[in-house]
Symmetry: C2
Subunit: 503 residues, 2 copies
Amino acid sequence: MNYESAAQALSSFDKRVEQMRAYSHAMGVMALDASTAAPRLSAEGRGRTYAVLSQVRYELMADPENGALLAYLESHEAELSQIQKRAVQLFRRQYEQLRRIPMAEYVDYEVLLNDSQAKWEEAKNKADFSIFQPYLEKIVGYNRKFAVYYDAEKAPYDALLNEYERGLTMETLDKFFGALKDALVPLIAKVKAAPAIDSSFLSRFYPASQQEKLSYLLMDALDIDKDRCTLAETEHPFTTEFNNHDVRITTHYYENALASSMYSVIHEGGHAIYELDCDDRYNYTLLSGGVSMGIHESQSRFYENILGRSRPFLSYLFPKVKELFPEQLQDVDEELFYRAVNKAEPSLVRTEADELTYCMHIIIRYELEKRLLDGSLAVRDLPEAWNRLYRDYLGIDVPNDKAGCLQDSHWSNGLIGYFPSYALGSAYGAQMLACMERDLGDIWPRVSQGDLSHVRSWLKEHIHKYASLYEPDELFRRACGEFDPKYYIDYLEEKYSRLYNLK
Amino acid sequence: MNYESAAQALSSFDKRVEQMRAYSHAMGVMALDASTAAPRLSAEGRGRTYAVLSQVRYELMADPENGALLAYLESHEAELSQIQKRAVQLFRRQYEQLRRIPMAEYVDYEVLLNDSQAKWEEAKNKADFSIFQPYLEKIVGYNRKFAVYYDAEKAPYDALLNEYERGLTMETLDKFFGALKDALVPLIAKVKAAPAIDSSFLSRFYPASQQEKLSYLLMDALDIDKDRCTLAETEHPFTTEFNNHDVRITTHYYENALASSMYSVIHEGGHAIYELDCDDRYNYTLLSGGVSMGIHESQSRFYENILGRSRPFLSYLFPKVKELFPEQLQDVDEELFYRAVNKAEPSLVRTEADELTYCMHIIIRYELEKRLLDGSLAVRDLPEAWNRLYRDYLGIDVPNDKAGCLQDSHWSNGLIGYFPSYALGSAYGAQMLACMERDLGDIWPRVSQGDLSHVRSWLKEHIHKYASLYEPDELFRRACGEFDPKYYIDYLEEKYSRLYNLK
């Protein structure tokens, strides 16, 4: 069709965006329901519905008319606002990427992910990788294909990394992870040699119903608006959002691990705050929501660790936790609690790892993903390769695949290339802390009173409110200047040297 | 388009049905999410998505090509199976009805219902009818319009009744309710004159977390497969289903009313069993699921009252309930429990009414709906009219609209003409019991052992397995012969005469 004016083209553009959004919204709610509430045997019906809706969504997104519309708007760029220009750019990117994927593959992949989610849960519960293996093989196969569609000139894994953090490459990550390993390996060794912290009280019996009360207490402590964000339970904690008035976080209660759900809620709470504090103007547009996984994880890991595991925050929080669990924490004081939740020790499960060893979990996943994508590792050999890396890098034996390569939900969700953003986000967060302290001075006295508003305001002003207006690297640069992993390394060295009285 | 064969036309038919089903499924999950998990302020985004999807669904359903396709299949009826013939009939009915509603009205109505749901909840929580009034005015307005579209020759309320129970009219209901009133009014008077039953122990403090355990115990007692049916909490209990592998029931816990959630779970469990026991062959077709609200309520009210409030079932169940609430039920025995949950007493809330006075609640709603639809009652005068009827028919004063005309979620969901099916269903159920006892002999000894399988098998064989294959009146006639309210009246007279030692 021919467009007569930018205004007319923009009206067509908005209508198309609104349609695609509606399908993503509906399928997103169905996926959320599948993880939180749907019965186990509901997968077949949901798969049939996904097949119909994802085909329509594909047709909407890959419609050749979009190409003409985008070309018209691009040639009238001078008449567009900054937001409109960015929306056109994001639509163009999505369109170019999607139209290269044949529709049948796209739809099959959506249905596959629905089935895989159920199979992964079953495999994890039974600690039996063989149940999930054929599904993961297909997922990896599709991702290798899609990577070529995305950018045939890039190595497949680079093409996937680019999906989660624009511009991120194996070259960058090899350097970043190299610097981290150089600093962390000796630091971990020193910590190992120091007297261990006794955190055994964290494994006492903490009833799920009381932990649920703690979750709501934490949401209040983080000032999360419950009229715009609710909490549910899932096998694996996550955050999902539809707009800044509809955000969901989930957690998982383990009755013998107090810190597990507690820090999941704070982590997902950090994601939620990013989404809730996006400016209203971006709602229902392509600029809606956080811009990248790296920036998103910077917020979640900032809340979880830099704030949530800090001495000042815990001096505010601990008395409230003790009120909920007076018997279990009878012989525990603030200092012991602080030390226990920061105890560094090589462990099996990423989501429960301490800050110091956390990145080793990411490096392991990064190396495995690289090999799965370049074909040097077959999916069937994944458990063995996983277990070997845990022995080599963390010195521990993996007892079964539930605590091993089945622990995370990412791969069953098709998220290959996502994990590095956790490490990158952690490092972003440490640099943000330095910038925040440069701007605000000492942030901690107010934190120890339970007042986090200055921290949140800084993050909102520099990160959150922009939603997806800027590319992640530009957003970060505007907030903090050039990215430098030394802030993160310094942060970890200082924190753990003090905690373990290291020289 | 021209069809070349019945096979080709059927393939097009199936594809169209599958598409419509997918949209209904997605919007159904979104509605379920809205009631169970979504944050309060999510309504706007959901409304936008409904607007897009319901428009597409409308276009699919009202597509003029459907008319040609249906005509072709109707003229080749000899080549169709019984199931296919019925599917064509149901599609025709839906098509004829929908294509008369202008699309803009259809979409606006879907969006209105989404908004109304949130407003009704707010109004109920604040006991303030004025919040909900403008929404109910619009809902009634649309229903009056739609009734004319459905069947301009019928009185509007008859046209709506026909939606929930095909063929049901005010004439039939006036007779049925007349017979009920004739029998119940004197019976209620006798019960009122008899010594009252002390049920005060049911209002002790029963923590929601323990009541939740009771819910799962009840689902086990009813043998509800939790891999195909899950439980959630909502303001108002309901059942929703997508296919016989994906059924959801909800309840609401009141910590000072043990019987409330207990009988909600059994009631919704009855709905769920009907859906779960539909034959697999009907899944994903237009014949999927229970055939009418009247038949559905016959199942839910059968489980809730005829079984769930029976002495034999309670002799099995009570010891288990007592285990969950040993302190609260310390001084209570089986007989007292049985008498308390059957205590007949005019009360405010329909869902918690005893079997004897229940139908008076329905008759009140029926009379109000009739007047709302014929225009003799304005929505703004509804609270007053409601309160007057409660005084006239049940002799009680309604303290506020929360306990009055805001108590039910039906009207905010657009369900006008639904209520009579509860009374009809109750009467159907009593007649089914008589037929079952004729076929099986004394069903109660096994029930008192907690074995309900013979009852469920009878219902499955005569009702459930057929899904929507037969019209409700035919289904009932095949199972029980001609409908006769005397079974229900006899059942109530016998039960309450014994309970209250009446002559």
